[in-house]
């Protein structure tokens, strides 16, 4: 039964083992734990996630919309709505996997407790990110319902925006986990929100077409994940669906996987010495 003794170097990843080799379906037990906790506070949580994008929709859509009139031939509020579903998903997942995950990783030692069971570190990170994606989906759903009440949903394609909200949630949950892994304290997250999330919100084409920006800023915007989400969402809402959304979808998928992989590595560095 004896196996070779471990080597002298600190083992971030053991030889012959792929980075995500310890990933399993047990990730869903971590996801389930988070859902279970959420069901106790879901009203406050949905209101929190819905409140801000809804305020933007009403203030900008009604207030600014009167001055702007139409953008690309559609009323401003209808131009705005699809993007705000994306930002709602982004914010929900980001809050969850920064403040939420950080609390579970540090103050509550939840990760430490789970690591004493057959659930692996990769499962924990995946479970947290799945939950972040789910939060994105839930916020997207709430937004879509409200928007349909306002008569802003004119295409059946818009239902697919829920899937998109999940994907956006996964991407931003993964990105947030990387930040969480590096965060010395809660204060650190204010940098992330100010320097990354706020520009994302403002320059990804939610409030105005990205083509309004100078050329270099358009290039910058292409590197913002949310830009691709907004592109897809707007196509779904207007019903102008063409093949270009697959390019955006591919972009989001590739970066989600990349960010997830980095998140696993960074969390491992943080909690397994």
């Amino acid at each position: 039964m004896s196996e070779p003794a471990s080597t002298g170097r600190p083992m971030l990843i053991r030889k012959g083992e792929r980075l995500l080799g310890n990933l399993s379906l047990r990730a869903f037990t971590v996801w389930y734990r988070d859902i279970k906790v959420w069901t106790k506070f879901y009203k406050a949580s949905i209101l929190g996630n819905l409140g801000e994008p809804l305020l933007y929709l009403l203030a900008m859509g009604w207030g600014l919309g009167r001055m702007v009139g139409t953008v690309n031939g559609i009323p401003y509020i209808e131009f705005l709505a699809p993007g705000l579903i994306c930002s709602a998903a982004m914010y929900a997942a980001t809050f969850e996997c920064t403040f939420g995950s950080f609390t579970r990783m540090t103050r509550q030692s939840t990760f430490d407790a789970i690591l004493a069971t057959p659930v692996s570190l990769e499962d924990i990170v995946a479970g947290e990110i799945l939950w972040g994606g789910t939060k994105g989906f839930l916020s997207g759903t709430a937004m879509l319902l409200v928007m349909s009440l306002f008569g802003l949903v004119n295409s059946f394609w818009a239902v697919l925006a829920l899937g998109l909200a999940f994907l956006i949630g996964l991407l931003f949950a993964s990105l947030s986990m990387i930040v969480t892994a590096r965060a010395p304290s809660y204060d650190f997250f204010s940098y992330y929100f100010t320097l990354v999330i706020a520009p994302m919100f403002l320059f990804s084409g939610i409030f105005f077409p990205v083509t309004n920006l100078p050329g270099w800023a358009q290039t910058f915007s292409w590197f913002l994940p949310l830009t691709h989400g907004v592109d897809i969402s707007r196509a779904l809402f207007t019903g102008n669906v063409d093949w270009s959304i697959f390019a955006d979808l591919l972009w989001l998928t590739v970066f989600s996987v990349l960010f997830f992989t980095v998140a696993v590595r960074e969390i491992r560095k943080r909690i397994i010495l």
Partner: protein, 309 residues
């Protein structure tokens, strides 16, 4: 006896700091094995290597016949872990803590509920099924931690300071439950600062300091070997030191007696203290204490009396 755990030259380094420095030990099935040592001795680091929380730097560590880390999932499925820091899930109520933990272990829901209720009964928590964790006393939280560690019916239970910070009643309840578990065949490994706890529970123990094992044996044998059977403590007067005190009490100390002196007390360790006492010129207003030797004497003699912070 079947070996449940076997460590050889086990080493853990954090950067240039060596927390555990090449220790070797074996634990047999059904034993209660203790780790004693001052703060920073390497006890918790050792526990965390056993529980697959920390990778081993050097040496080998096999738990239930499997090398740790490489077989992390399989090992963790068969051990129970009671950590030093309370990490109960404060977002969940008492019963949910056990049920969610069962899911991590992949225990079917019906079976999990049955086990959870039995464990809450066993640990006298049955009245608190729906309580939030924050409403439990320290002793209750610790009992729940142990209950949680038993949900997968482990063959080996690892306890890192299971009774630190608890009142005497709570400690005695936990000791009794641990003895009961041991009699059911569960192997126990624990760390503690409390010598009485080690004496109460452990069949064998090691005393660690600076990452190394100093001695290993049964509590009784260690006491006899390292502290004799009995101790006479003589409090020094303000103006006395070791030599002047020995002079004052006559210095007729029988062979086989070991003398040690701390800041204000002279300790005479002896197989037979009555003999020591009769040989001494003790006046009536001198403070003396004649008692049986304990594990604490062994511990202090081996690790010194300096503060560890």
């Amino acid at each position: 006896m079947t070996t449940v755990l076997s460590a050889s030259d086990l080493t853990k380094r954090f950067g240039s700091f060596t927390a555990v420095d090449g220790i070797s030990f074996n634990v047999g099935k059904g034993e209660c094995f203790g780790f004693l040592g001052p703060n920073g001795a390497g006890k918790t680091t050792t526990m965390r290597m056993i529980t697959n929380h920390l990778p081993v730097t050097e040496g080998s560590l096999s738990v239930l016949g499997m090398q740790v880390m490489a077989n992390a999932r399989k090992v963790k499925a068969r051990i129970g872990v009671v950590p030093q820091e309370n990490n109960l899930d404060t977002d969940l109520k008492v019963l949910d803590n056990l049920l969610i933990y069962s899911r991590y272990h992949g225990i079917p829901m019906k079976e999990a509920r049955k086990r959870a209720l039995q464990l809450l009964e066993f640990f006298q928590l049955a009245d608190h099924v729906k309580s939030p964790i924050t409403q439990l006393s320290g002793g209750m939280q610790r009992r729940l931690l142990i209950a949680r560690a038993l949900i997968n019916e482990p063959e080996l239970l690892i306890l890192d300071e299971p009774t630190t910070g608890l009142d005497p009643q709570a400690r005695h309840v936990i000791w009794q439950k641990l003895r009961q578990l041991q009699s059911q065949g569960v192997t126990l490994i624990l760390t503690t600062h409390y010598m009485d706890e080690a004496q109460q529970l452990c069949d064998r123990l090691v005393i660690m300091d600076h990452g190394r094992i100093l001695i290993e044996g049964s509590p009784r044998d260690l006491i006899t070997k390292h502290a004799g059977n009995e101790v006479v403590e003589i409090r020094l007067r303000d103006d006395e030191d070791r030599e002047s005190c020995l002079d004052a009490i006559g210095g007729m100390i029988p062979e086989g007696t070991e003398v040690e002196c701390s800041a204000d007390t002279l300790y005479l360790y002896s197989p037979d203290a009555t003999k020591v006492l009769t040989g001494l010129a003790l006046d009536s207003n001198r403070t003396i204490l004649h008692r049986r030797a304990t594990l604490e004497d062994v511990f202090l003699r081996l690790t010194g009396r300096d503060l560890r912070e």
